[in-house]
Amino acid sequence: MKTWMRLALVPTALILVGGDKPEIVSQPIANARTFAATGKWLVDPKVLEGDFARAGDNPWQVALVLPGGESSSRVLFCGGSLVSPRMVLTAAHCVDRGTSASALEVVVGATDLARDGKRFKVALIRLHPTYISPNQGDDVAILELDSDATPLGKVVPLIAAGDTLADAPGSSVRATGWGATSLGSGPVRDLRTIDLSILSNKQCNDPVAYDGAIGTSMVCAGDKRFGRDTCQGDSGGPLTGIVRGARTQIGVVSWGEKCGLPDKFGVYARLTALPWAQRCVADRATC
């Protein structure tokens, strides 16, 4: 989710105030509702210039969708990853602002989002205790599902906190998601994947990039080829790398300035600096 983009779209002439209290949901959910009702995707898209994922290659990938029956359309607003049989790791900004657990469902086991997998209800949403906004870091949340999802999906291991070799500059990483691939269109049907490289926070804090806005709980990934990036709809999805021979999640799609712009790299929650996520998965009493 590119939060700066969303802000840029709000016109100064528009003031929405007062009235009966509308239901509060996160901005990605609000945007998904607009898309479902009007066909207009109001924020920029996600995996740009990626490739189609092969079915079964990313069994931990899940989709966060608006609630509905098994036969109703799956309206995507974010991604996530299965990190335990009943836990999904996603971005906090996907489920913030007091979003209730009944305002979303999780699709597990899908590559073709229109056809594969099954919906799971969410029992509880846990935001990182110090999360305020994506730009301020700590942009992770855990969703507790109401039932075991492993019959359809597979759990991805999380990188250990402090294992800084895994997200060292130059490391190869992979992001996945169903976000749209062109400006203004909706999410895609088939899961897409893109290989990127980790940048140092010094590179990402260059004046032409994010000019000091990248904190210790964030990590940037990009590609020499301009235009390869993640974007809206991919938020919350996993950034994975090969660690000691196994694909391991090292980040969560978080934010960036628009999508695919030169020098505006994708920003991810850095799991090696967020031990809360690992602790919460290991022992829910510590969440």
């Binding site: 779209l9 709000v10 016109p11 002439a13 003031i15 020499k224 301009f226 020098d263």
Partner: protein, 539 residues
């Protein structure tokens, strides 16, 4: 305040009674006259650690800076005068320039030096730039970054001039003379081993970008007979055109001709003007009479939705007008006003059958058509309106302030479903739609010349239709085509001025302003034509 020029006065003579009335006095808020600041950052880099040295940038920067000073620019910053600026220095200069800019200013950035394009992205190369960086933007400076930084300062218009399309900076020898034009031997420069800059349209918004050469072509620095102390072919011609006091668009068109002529057609500059129609470069040049007339029409516009649309258009057409500050301030004030106006009550009668949205010729009431954008009618709210989940009930999503631009998704009787730009959508009430089938009279005006100085006879059909135009229970739509002058910006301005003059005339006939809709530069109307339609209003 009377600021009529000749064609408007001609219109006034057509129908005696209503037009003898004086224009109402201009509102107080419109009286502020403020000349926007003109600020420039001029960069010339000749000295490079890893690339070919250049001869002309020192002189280019000097000449361009002198030209802008002569045009009464308020400030002209220089990156360096010795022809050397490392990336960090350039970034600091850009940051300092941005900090100096205020909303409403004219910002000009001039660059002479090496430019490189990689994967369609244009970069400026600092003195310490390397040949093949892993991430080009972290070693050079992308033009997009420069544009983006200046955009953050909310300048009224940003002008970026790039005399940077030289041959590949990282190949050849230090004394390479490939980019010196020799009329006896010269061939096209864009061949293997050289790379010009990529095409760039610039971002949305008021913006001008000018290149010394066409996309992916390279530019000559000087001719073989020029002394070493001369500036580049492009810069010297641009400076010459600017000091002749032409608006920027006209000056750039002239430079294209000059440079092509000086290089036997082998170098052709290119420029892109986005939404910039009227850009006088001289800081002391007085406002044109036509612009003053247009401003008088704009400030007298009611209701508020149309005023917002007209002020927005005025700022777009005349971003550095002396009236632009007043227009922007009024727009900001309207946007900030608390929504204190009571909501219109639901109509007691049953709504008529819903017209298809695409057949809606005119919107009246709470939502009003204002102008054509990309061939589609856009609408603004004419008062603060409640947005509800359903037509009659459901959650109240809040209030959209007066003057907000919305998209019409669906229309049912006096209700309309709208999409606000922030993604919220719902139903509003108090909308009155009129179908094209309800047109009672069509008046066609044909203008004998393509500019804004129309002949008095051109207005005759309007005078003949005066009685029907002012009939009760009618609304009037005014649609104008563009002027047939060659300059795109000027042709749109002509269409706009004609529409405003017709609107003023219709209002003087007594038609209520909330029943007059102006759709200027409608692509469905031929150039140098106007269509005035009288429509029957049922409610």
């Amino acid at each position: 305040m009377q600021r009529w020029n000749f064609p408007a006065a001609c219109l006034l003579t057509l129908v005696a009674t209503p037009l003898c009335a004086q224009l109402p006095p201009p509102p107080d808020w419109s009286l502020e006259v403020k000349r926007p600041a003109r600020r420039a950052l001029v960069i010339g880099i000749a000295s490079y650690d890893n690339a070919r040295q250049l001869i002309t940038p020192r002189m280019d920067a000097e000449q361009f800076a002198q030209t802008l000073t002569a045009l009464n620019f308020n400030t002209v910053d220089r990156a360096s005068i010795d022809g050397r600026s490392e990336r960090s220095i350039l970034l600091a200069k850009i940051a300092a320039f941005k900090a100096k800019l205020e909303p409403g200013d004219l910002a000009v950035v001039y660059y002479s030096g090496h430019g490189v394009q990689v994967n369609g992205i244009n970069y400026l190369v600092g003195s310490d730039g390397t040949a093949k960086p892993e991430y080009p933007g972290l070693d050079w400076i992308s033009v997009d970054y420069v544009i983006g930084e200046i955009a953050k300062a909310k300048a009224a218009v940003t002008v970026l001039v790039l005399d940077a399309c030289r041959a590949d900076p990282f190949t050849g020898t230090a004394d390479d003379d490939r980019d010196i034009f020799d009329a006896t031997t010269a061939g096209p420069l864009a061949t293997a081993g050289v790379q010009g800059l990529a095409p760039a349209g610039g971002p949305l918004g008021p913006f001008v970008i000018a290149f010394a050469a066409q996309p992916r072509m390279v530019a000559y620095s000087r001719t073989s007979t020029d002394p070493l102390t001369t500036s580049s072919i492009y810069t010297r011609h641009l400076a010459s055109r600017l000091v002749r006091n032409a608006p920027l668009g006209r000056a750039l068109a002239g430079v294209d001709t000059d440079v092509a002529g000086a290089t036997d057609g082998r170098q052709k500059p290119m420029s892109s003007l986005s939404q910039v129609w009227d850009l006088p470069m001289d800081g002391l040049k007085p406002e044109s009479v036509t612009t003053e007339e247009e401003w008088a029409f704009v400030v007298s516009t009611i209701p508020i939705g149309q005023l917002v649309a007209q002020l927005t258009d005025f700022v777009s057409f005349h971003p550095i007008s002396v009236h632009a500050a007043a227009a922007r301030a009024k727009l900001a004030q309207i946007a900030a006003e608390p929504p204190s106006v009571p909501q219109p009550q639901p109509q007691p009668q049953l709504p008529p059958p819903p017209p298809p949205v695409e057949n809606t010729a005119i919107l009246l009431g709470a939502l009003q058509s204002t102008r054509m954008v990309d061939g589609k009618v856009t609408a603004v709210t004419n008062s603060p309106v409640s947005v509800r989940e359903r037509r009659k009930g459901g959650a109240n999503f809040g209030i959209v302030s007066a003057g907000s631009r919305v998209q019409l998704l669906e229309s049912k009787g006096h209700f309309a479903r709208i999409l606000a730009p922030d993604g919220r959508f719902g139903w509003i009430e108090g909308v009155n739609t009129v179908n094209r089938e309800q047109i009672k009279l069509d008046v066609r005006l044909g203008f004998s010349s393509g500019d804004e100085f129309a002949d008095a006879n051109d207005w005759t059909p309007l005078g003949d239709a005066a009685r029907k135009l002012s009939a009760p229970s009618t609304a009037v739509t005014i649609r104008t085509g563009r002027g047939s002058v060659s300059d795109v910006g000027q042709s749109r301005l002509v269409g706009r001025v004609r529409a405003l003059r017709i609107r003023e005339y219709v209002l003087r006939l007594g038609v209520p302003p909330e029943r007059v809709v102006v759709l200027e530069n409608d692509p469905g109307v031929d150039a140098d034509e106007a269509r005035i339609s009288v429509l029957k209003v049922t409610s």
